[in-house]
Amino acid sequence: MLEISHLRKTFGGVKRALDGVSFTVGQGEMFGFVGANGAGKTTTMRIVMGVLQADEGEVRWKGGPLGFAERRRFGYMPEERGLYQKMKVADQIGYFGRLHGLSPEAARSAADELIERLGLTERAGDAVEALSLGNQQRVQLAVALVHDPDVLILDEPFSGLDPLAVDALAEVLQERARGGVPVIFSSHQLDLVERLCDSVGIVSAGRMVASGTADELRAAAGGRLRVVVADAKPGWAAGLPGELSVENGRDVLIVGEGDDQRILRAAVEAGRVEHFGVERPTLTEIFREAVA
């Protein structure tokens, strides 16, 4: 279990980047980290990876302090991609495997496997600079995965990928998570986060404003009653809470809180009820609400 607790970080004595960020990611859990640009996602990840030092707070791994030896078993994809431009794809992935302590043979076979898995077979002998950005991103991911890491920390791994590459990457990440690896990734693609992640953290202005499973977040955000009535008598909703609008010639009543049974009776009397139910907000809506 990776525990991030009460991280604080101020840059240059003025700009407060993190103001007490805490969350935990369990074994095999996929954690989606969302937030506006500059909210503190990258700073948090850089502190976890030891690239930055926190002013306060700590990161613990499996109940103990997180040090160099433990981080060496982490896989990291930084926000700004970094690869040796003139080095060949296979050599590069293998080199990082070796740096993480793999034997030459193990590094080569791990590199070959990832190259095949990520659809880079034809480019294995090319210099990185000759690759498209999307392919460079795949190489970057391979570099993060080559040593079969204990934890994955990926900053915006999906940005700039085509839908097929997104699927390939998602599959690889899910597979690692199933193998018991905690995966933390940040993304602005909220639908993707909702689809892939077991839990989500929304960070805003250096604070974790909401976190939990997607269902918990939705439940916490509360449901809204949505009633659709066709051929309704005008003025039927006058005495009821909520907002009335017209969609496709039907009256639509959205109610945050109220006596649902009374609303149902009124709707049945007013006309033909086509829809009556509680709607959970989407992650995007929760996100908008949370960072507003």
Partner: protein, 368 residues
């Protein structure tokens, strides 16, 4: 240690595989062989072939490096043909006339003339004794060779000691600017990364130096110039290697520390200015020391690190310097290298993850 060797291995492979490296090596070899052979090619020949027609061989005095080969011809016509065909440099006919194609070579003319005069005097029954030459100053036999060697050494050391740390600086900025360093430093320690880079590029520099030395010495031996080498040449060569290692270690550490302050290749030249100025100053004094190895300025500077790394080997080549002087200077330099490496590693460790605008050195030194 393993991490450092991996980093060093990558640096060596990356450099050695570039076209620039091979082209650079070939150009250096051609240049060095050219410089080594130049005096021989430009100077006059030291052997002549002389045709003889009804003449006796002349008794050319020993002592010079001049060799003369005599070749007999049956008549003057044959000798004339040989002269015009350049089979012989000149032909002596009937002990009285010398035939040549155009004006005769100055040196050859003098030799023949004096040998002929000597022969005539001797045949008149007069005994002559040649002048004996004796130097009452120091042994200057090797002075010329020594200063030629020293000049070449200035050139080689300057090229390598300036060029190799520059590669270190560019490598550091490449990793910092592209943020590869963030990934690297999760798997290796800063000192491993820095040490590996300096070690790897140092090996590349040593390969360059070895090629230069082998090419130069090889050309010297092949052309017979090596006979002029002063005694203790092996020591001089070994000294060059040691001094290169010391000078490189010093400047590479400084280059890495300075380069870790910046994030863009364009800034490399700018941030390295203090270092390059120091190198040029060393170069200037070393150049002067090649000419005046025992002058006061050259002597003093040959003890001051890091200038000593270029000046002392040049002085020791240009003149005979007592071994203890070289050792004292070497120890001082080694101490300076150790201090600089520790300081540079600290600066590098603190600055290399601070991307963005240029980091101020004073800020890095003061931070915890």
């Amino acid at each position: 240690m393993n991490g450092m060797l991996l980093v060093a291995g990558r640096e060596i492979r990356t450099q050695v595989r570039t076209k620039g490296f091979l082209v650079g090596l070939v150009v250096t070899v051609v240049l060095i062989v050219g410089i080594t052979l130049a005096p021989k090619l430009l100077g006059g020949p030291d052997s002549y072939t002389i045709g003889l027609v009804s003449s006796q061989k002349l008794d050319v005095p020993d002592g010079g490096d001049i060799e003369i080969e005599w070749r007999s011809y049956s008549d003057e016509a044959a000798a004339r043909r040989a002269v015009l065909d350049e089979d012989v440099d000149a032909a002596l006919v009937g002990n009285t006339r010398v035939l040549s194609d155009g004006k005769i070579d100055d040196q050859l003319g003098l030799i023949l003339q004096s040998a002929h005069r000597e022969a005539q005097i001797q045949s008149a029954g007069v005994r002559t004794t040649p002048l004996s030459m004796e130097s009452i100053g120091g042994d200057t036999r090797y002075d010329e060779t020594r200063s030629q060697l020293a000049f070449m050494l200035v050139l080689i050391l300057f090229m390598l000691v300036v060029g190799t740390p520059m590669m270190v600086a560019m490598g550091v900025v490449e990793e910092k600017g592209s943020r590869i360093v963030e990934i690297l430093l999760t798997s290796v320690r800063p000192w491993q990364l820095l040490g590996g880079k300096v070690l790897g590029l140092g090996v590349v520099g040593l390969i360059n130096l070895a090629v230069v030395l082998v090419a130069g010495l090889g050309a010297a031996f092949a052309s017979g110039l090596a006979v002029d080498f002063p005694p203790g040449m092996a020591g001089i060569v070994a000294g060059i290697v040691v001094w290169f290692v010391l000078g490189y270690a010093f400047f590479a550490a400084v280059a890495a520390a300075l380069a870790s302050l910046i994030s863009r290749q364009e800034e490399v030249g700018n941030v390295l200015t203090p270092m390059t100025m120091t190198m040029f100053a060393s170069y200037a004094v070393a150049f002067y020391a090649a000419k005046e190895p025992t002058s006061l300025v050259a002597t003093i500077v040959s003890y001051v690190p890091p200038f000593s790394s270029m000046v002392m080997p040049v002085r020791a080549t240009a003149a005979e310097i007592p071994v203890w002087e070289v050792l004292v200077s070497g120890v001082l330099m080694a101490v300076a290298v150790a201090g600089t490496v520790v300081f540079a590693a600290r600066v590098y460790e603190r600055a290399v993850l601070r991307t963005g605008a240029r980091v101020r050195l004073s800020e890095v030194v003061r931070s915890r």
